[in-house]
Subunit: 440 residues, 2 copies
């Protein structure tokens, strides 16, 4: 073992990820030293309660409730507390004292990213956050480094494992959402209150982080259009399967050309919603709690990154990769690679985005109905790609027809206004479902 | 635009990748400067013939036949000539003059990697080679940086687009290999002499590079066990499909515990061959000329990286990502991250590896045959997982049976000796096929 420089590592938080990070730092000291070029000395672990039970037995002498003292004099601070405060304050304190920081805190980065990155820039420190998006999957580093000479046009990601688990089981088993959510809660895949996952809040934070990085633009969380999966029914799943699709909750980050506020300028759209994905698409085969991020870049073409989106030890792998990078940089010296917001493209409203709809309607079964519906679509500047009509018989014996309309690409605003007009029209009994199609 | 430091870039080679790299360097100067922290000045492009036709119109004043003069005084040298000489000599010259180098040369790295990396170490320069394996797919950087705090146990990669294209079309269309190879040649997906792709030489080079990186071990090319796909027939494809598999040519890099030359030591196996992959496995849905690399790491679990494995502009994306990294490092100064061969694990012979076989036999249709075959397997220390027996009628009306035997995991040497004994046994008319099963 060659004589390495020593780096002092402060770990904040010893939850499911933090305790695994501590374990790996303590167990793999020689390997980490070899790969970092520095001995990584875990100086302490700041926790709220030193006596709380943990996933991993941690040396009692490392535990402290005094995070601020631990941070002082540390070379690298790993923040795995989560939430906004006190995580934000600790990170700023760490950066101001010259430490590089590693964080898995998506909520903090999605809401206070600019402040954190600016603080790092000021002192020439770096912020690493591979663990904040898609758990163990290397996606931050590929976007920041591997594609640094390329230009990302579009990202479609399955970035929330819980919602993917729910939709995947609904698809595979034809089960109802409620029973699968209950199951997921039993298995620990869903929280007691699953709102953050099911309603897309978690995915929206990750989408904001990915879009900021990919488009060199500050994307505030409230610029992310968000729709959850709670409206997805067994019937919608079955219909999707029948049509060769699967429903996945996706985060879409898209570069739009000629759509910026300046004429001919560029803009971006960032949105989270359940969408139809064609069965042959690589994203369609992402099962269970796994995550995947599909990236379209101008030169590289289509890339996909797949793996575990959560889990303590899995996410710890991403954290340790960042710690090694931070250690190398800390030794090499020089300024860190700041987050670029050079482009700062405007984010357009969902209405300005071009999407494809699949609209399922219950309509009267009488002559002229299809012509009427087609007319409404055409009036709304929406062009029809496919129509499938099936007869359904109600309990009373009266026949009604079901129309499944796949549109060509159209302006979201035109699509949504057309659906409103369809819903109000006499020939339409009910709008059964409206889903966007992504991943073409 | 802030005033950037200027870095002199020398490009060696202007083939399908090189010409795209030149184009992107010339077209995206501002963006690249912003991401690198340095103005990247393309100082010249060394070619064999300045008048040769190229994919991209390049400024005549940049073209030169004098590579050696171009290299002198360059900060970053991009080598896209391919082959061993003069590429090796140029890279060594570049490193000795203090330049960082970016290369896509898999043949050179697989055969002279140690020499190149040692030369870089000597002067504290870095060698970047994302483009050498799996084209546009970021795989080198994730293995080197993202998983730096983790431990790779196994890599199963589809790293040769031509052979994947051939097998994929055989699978989808039920066509013969010969006609698809001819088609692939017409489309430019296969060379006039497809040996390097079809017989696994190209994949073996990439496997050696991946294994060296993942296991911190120098893996010489001749330590890679290699079998090509020329023996794969339409019938084998059909049988695989029937059994829920697809045949893919895979590169397997595996860590073996308790199998090193020292007792209880570690060893590795690196091998390339056609194998049965279960249809549900993410690798099974890698179609056409695409590549994918499936990585199993101790902490991160299963990861997959998917994308274009070849193509001029796609591979240029990987090269430019490396150029930006090299530029950042060149400015920051300090020693580069050397290739670690710390572990230097022994590579075991294919016989010492544990695999699963699927053996298809034509046997006499008479009582006691299955018992005889089962006895031979058991004598050979091979345990049977599944057996399927079907009757076949020959032209003469005599019945013979077909046995498809799936084994449990066993030592490759035991498996292969058992197949030899089966082939020699009286009850076995013919060994129809023997394929390994990977990706479980």
């Amino acid at each position: 073992m060659i004589d390495h420089r020593r780096l002092r590592i402060a770990l904040l938080g010893a939850g499911s990820v933090g305790s695994q990070v501590a374990r790996l730092l303590l167990e793999n000291t020689d390997e980490l030293a070899d790969r970092s070029g520095a001995a990584l000395e875990l100086a302490g672990i700041a926790v709220r309660d030193v006596t709380a039970p943990r996933d991993v037995d941690l040396p009692a002498e490392l535990l402290t409730t005094d995070a601020e003292t631990l941070i002082v004099g540390s070379d690298i601070v790993i923040e795995l507390i989560g939430g906004i405060e006190p995580a934000r304050e600790y990170l700023l304190q760490a950066l101001n004292s010259g430490a590089d920081v590693v964080t898995g805190n998506k909520a903090l980065l999605a809401t206070h990213g600019s402040e954190i990155f600016d603080a790092a820039d000021q002192v020439g420190a770096s912020v690493y956050y591979e663990a904040a998006v898609a758990g163990a999957i290397p996606i931050i580093r590929p976007l920041r480094d591997s594609l640094a000479g390329d230009r990302v046009d579009r990202i479609v990601g399955i970035v929330n494992g819980t919602s993917n688990y729910i939709l995947d089981r609904m698809d595979l088993e034809g089960a109802d959402m409620a029973e699968i959510v209950a199951d997921a809660q039993r298995l620990g895949y869903a929280e007691a209150d699953p709102t953050a996952d099911v309603e897309g809040f978690d995915a929206a934070q990750k989408a904001a982080i990915l879009a900021s990085l990919a488009f060199h633009t500050t994307v505030p969380l409230d610029a992310v259009h968000r729709e959850g999966i709670s409206g997805i029914t067994k019937q919608m799943m079955d219909a999707a399967r029948h049509a060769g699709y699967v429903i996945k909750m996706v985060a879409v980050c898209e570069r739009l050309t000629g759509r910026g506020t300046a004429s001919d300028g560029e803009a971006i759209s960032v949105r989270v919603y359940p969408a139809l994905i064609r069965r042959e698409h690589p994203l369609a085969s992402v099962h269970g709690v796994n995550n995947a991020v599909f990236v379209q870049a101008e030169a590289a073409g289509n890339l996909m990154f797949y793996g575990a989106g959560a889990g303590g030890v899995q996410t710890a792998s991403a954290v340790l990769g960042d710690v090694v990078s931070a250690a190398r940089r800390h030794i090499a010296g020089g300024a860190g690679v700041g987050e670029s917001t050079r482009a700062n493209l405007p984010t357009v409203d969902i209405g300005q985005v071009v999407t494809r709809y699949q609209i399922t309607l219950e309509v009267d079964d009488r002559p002229g109905v299809l012509a009427r519906v087609a007319g409404l679509l055409s009036d709304g500047r929406v062009s029809i790609a496919t129509v499938e009509q099936t007869l359904e018989h109600t309990d009373e014996g009266a026949a009604s027809a079901r129309l499944v309309i796949g549109t060509h690409k159209a302006l979201e605003q035109d699509l949504s206004e057309t659906v409103t007009r369809l819903a109000e029209d006499d020939v339409v009994e009910r709008v059964v479902s409206v889903l966007r199609v992504e991943g073409d």
